[in-house]
């Protein structure tokens, strides 16, 4: 049994003629906090969407705890269009819908907060509990299994208390301030009992103090729930502070990986972020 929770092999995602992610390989080990960084349009969110099943990769394989959750090879029109590498390496086709992948233990938050806006904070968390509830429509409708419903309520309440959102339980999600909406989104993701948590720009739009709180918060949930965390972030301060390893994407390609110190010193990363001077490049 490999100890890496998530393993992405040769992931390529091509939209028409555009290769959004090219041959991306990454590994996330148990209890690690790993960051995926890169300039805008580098393909970070595309990689996330492939891992969570929103997109079906053009080529490559994604496995969770040793189990393949997505595998694909160029098919149909893509056969002629495909510009990536490793053609022919993968022959299986494994497609899981996002809900199946969530069920297997990957949960995520979104770059632009996607809460169930018109519902209450409590309902938002309860919805995430729905997936693992042992009940069918009939027993749920006719309240034949009140124990299960009670358990869901108690667990959701406990989760909200841990996230210090319990006093806002009956507020409509969209009425919360932005920082709390982010926190609620994380709480909702945790409610699916994941083993791997994907955070898409958790500190986007936050001020330095909120960012600092977010850093502590990520550490805290990792320790408390025994999570493995993969995050996308632009905020270098946060990334360098919390992540144990960093992958750097640029134009869909993985250009560097390593510890924060290694990445900080890597010339390719500096070039990707700051650009290369004309004469220096020549």
């Amino acid at each position: 049994m490999p100890d890496n929770v998530l393993r992405v092999d040769d992931l390529t995602m091509q939209f028409g003629g555009v290769v959004a992610a090219n041959n991306v390989c990454l590994e996330v080990n148990k209890s690690e906090i790993v960051a995926l960084i890169g300039p805008n349009g580098a393909g970070k969110t595309t990689a996330f969407n492939c891992i969570t099943g929103v997109y079906e990769p053009t080529n490559g394989r994604v496995s969770l705890n040793g189990e393949v959750i997505a595998e694909s090879f160029p098919q149909g029109k893509m056969k002629d269009l495909y510009k990536g590498e490793n053609r022919g390496k993968y022959t299986q086709s494994v497609k899981l819908t996002p809900d199946r992948i969530t069920y297997r233990g990957i949960s995520r938050t979104f770059q632009n907060v996607r809460l169930f806006k018109a519902l209450t904070v409590f309902e938002n968390v309860m919805i995430a509990k729905h997936m693992r509830a042992k009940q069918n429509v009939f027993s749920a409708t006719f309240r034949l299994n009140t124990k299960e419903e009670k358990r869901m309520r108690e667990e959701s309440m406990a989760l909200l208390e841990e996230q210090k959102l319990d006093h806002l339980k009956d507020h409509i999600a969209s009425s919360l301030p932005y920082g709390l909406q982010r926190r609620l989104e994380v709480a909702r993701a945790l409610a699916t009992s994941p083993s791997l948590l994907l955070l898409d720009e958790p500190a986007a739009g936050m001020n330095p103090q909120e960012t600092q709180e977010m850093a502590e918060f990520i550490h805290e949930i990792r320790d408390r729930y025994g999570l493995t965390i993969l995050l996308i972030e632009h905020h270098m301060g946060l990334v360098m502070q919390i992540s144990e390893r960093i992958y750097v994407l640029d134009f869909g390609k993985m250009i560097a990986q390593g510890t924060p110190d290694e990445i900080r010193a890597d010339q390719r990363v500096i070039d990707a972020y700051l650009g290369v001077a004309e004469d220096a490049a020549n």
């Binding site: 969570t52 929103v54 819908t97 996002p98 809900d99 199946r100 969530t102 069920y103 949960s107 995520r108 979104f110 996607r114 809460l115 169930f116 806006k117 018109a118 519902l119 309902e123 309860m126 919805i127 995430a128 509990k129 729905h130 997936m131 693992r132 509830a133 009940q135 429509v137 749920a140 409708t141 006719f142 309240r143 419903e149 869901m152 909702r188 993701a189 409610a191 699916t192």
Partner: protein
């Protein structure tokens, strides 16, 4: 057992009073009475309420904009008629297929012969439930392709399927089964169920229809407040987030579609009981729009709203505004403006719908989210109590009731 909140218990009380009233009223109002219109409206109103709530489950709670309502109602109504028509009547009703009609069983008749009066009621209930099940089965098949579409496309596809269903039912080739578009009639109705005690006959038609509708609406209410109801709302709010939270989109959409259709089928059966005949030509797309209107009027995502909307719609269009078509309306018909007598020249056939449209426009303008928004009855009861409490002992500080 959890203690009921005041809002809930008052709501339940209101419902009980309503049912007692329907029973009592029906005994005192003779069919010849002018007030008989009240009973007719109550009957139709409660059936429309069920149909509107069923539509709301799909369009309002799950966010699937479906327009297949009339088609599914027709399936329900036809199924009910076919399985509850006395055998003796069939050769008359199936005029063109008098020796080839296929369905030769009538549940109320079979059970009625077996068990007497109660058997007939059970037979009727079986037919009604069967109507729901058949409708749900059709919905399942229609849902397989249709529910992969979104928003407008879904609306167009379901609208198309509703017309296809009607066309199939009216098809000559299926005549031995469905009577090919010729009206179905003579089936068991609630009029057959009046209870006679000691020579005194008690009418229970209004109560039966209202009660059956209420039971169905209550089941929908239970569903909507269950974990599945929350999942439906999640799909309405954000499909991508719902899927990321582990909700299987297709399964839940299909579930909502089938359950909604089940109750539409039951509603169709009740409508058949109410109308006495089932003529496929009545179940056109225009009928779907009536229910869409009720749902939007009452509030998308509010069961209370759909009930109130259905009652208002039926009462206004059937009764209160009727005078606008026939020349007498609140004495306004005696007024003459610019030499035009309102009663003679304006209040003629068709003017009712003009006024009706204006009223709807006003409601849509002033109640953006429908009459009830997405709130339910207990919420209004609580609001009302708050209001009364504030009136009876005025508090000096403002915003004292913001909790």
């Amino acid at each position: 057992m959890k203690k009921l909140s005041v809002g809930n218990s008052i709501s339940i009380l209101v419902l009980i009073i309503f049912f007692v009233l329907t029973i009592v009223l029906e005994q005192f109002i003779a069919p010849t009475d002018r007030m008989n219109m009240l009973l007719v409206c109550l009957r139709q109103g409660s059936i429309f309420a069920l149909l509107a709530v069923a539509m709301n489950l799909l369009n309002g709670f799950t966010g699937l904009f479906s327009l297949g309502h009339a088609g599914f109602m027709l399936i329900g109504a036809t199924t009910y008629a076919l399985f509850s028509m006395p055998l003796a009547e069939r050769s008359i009703v199936f005029t063109w297929f008098s020796d080839s009609y296929v369905i030769r069983i009538s549940f109320p008749e079979v059970l009625g012969n077996l068990l007497g009066g109660p058997g007939m009621i059970i037979g009727m209930l079986i037919s009604i439930i069967l109507a729901g099940l058949v409708t749900a089965a059709f919905a399942f098949l229609v849902g397989l392709p249709v529910l992969r579409m979104r928003s407008d496309y879904l609306a167009i596809a379901t609208l198309g399927f509703a017309e296809i269903i009607r066309a199939i039912i009216m098809w000559q080739g299926l005549g031995p089964v469905t009577n090919a578009g010729n009206p179905l009639r003579s089936f068991t109705r609630t009029a057959d169920l009046n209870v006679t005690i000691g020579g005194q006959t008690f009418g229970l038609i209004t109560f039966t229809l209202a009660f059956l509708s209420a039971v169905c609406i209550f089941i929908i209410f239970l569903l909507v407040t269950s974990s599945y109801g929350r999942a439906f709302k999640a799909i309405r709010e954000d499909e991508i987030a719902a899927e990321a939270m582990g909700i299987n989109l297709f399964k839940h959409k299909q579930l909502s579609f089938c359950i909604s259709s089940f109750f539409v089928g039951v509603g169709g059966a009740l409508l058949a009981i109410f109308m006495g005949t089932v003529a496929p030509l009545q179940f056109r797309a225009a009928m779907t729009y009536e229910f869409l209107l009720i749902v939007v009027l009452g509030g998308i995502g509010s069961i209370t709203g759909s009930i109130v909307g259905a009652m208002l719609f039926v009462f206004a269009s059937m009764w209160w505004l009727r005078g606008l078509d026939s020349g007498t309306f609140l004495g306004l018909d005696r007024i003459t403006i610019f030499g035009v007598n309102l009663g003679e020249r304006v209040f003629v056939s068709g003017f009712r719908m003009v006024v009706f449209s204006v009223i709807i426009m006003c409601i849509v303008l002033f109640f953006r989210r429908g009459l009830c928004g997405d709130k339910e009855l207990p919420y209004y009861v609580n609001k009302l109590r708050e209001l009364i409490a504030r009136k009876s002992k005025p508090k000096p500080e403002a915003g004292g009731a913001d909790a």
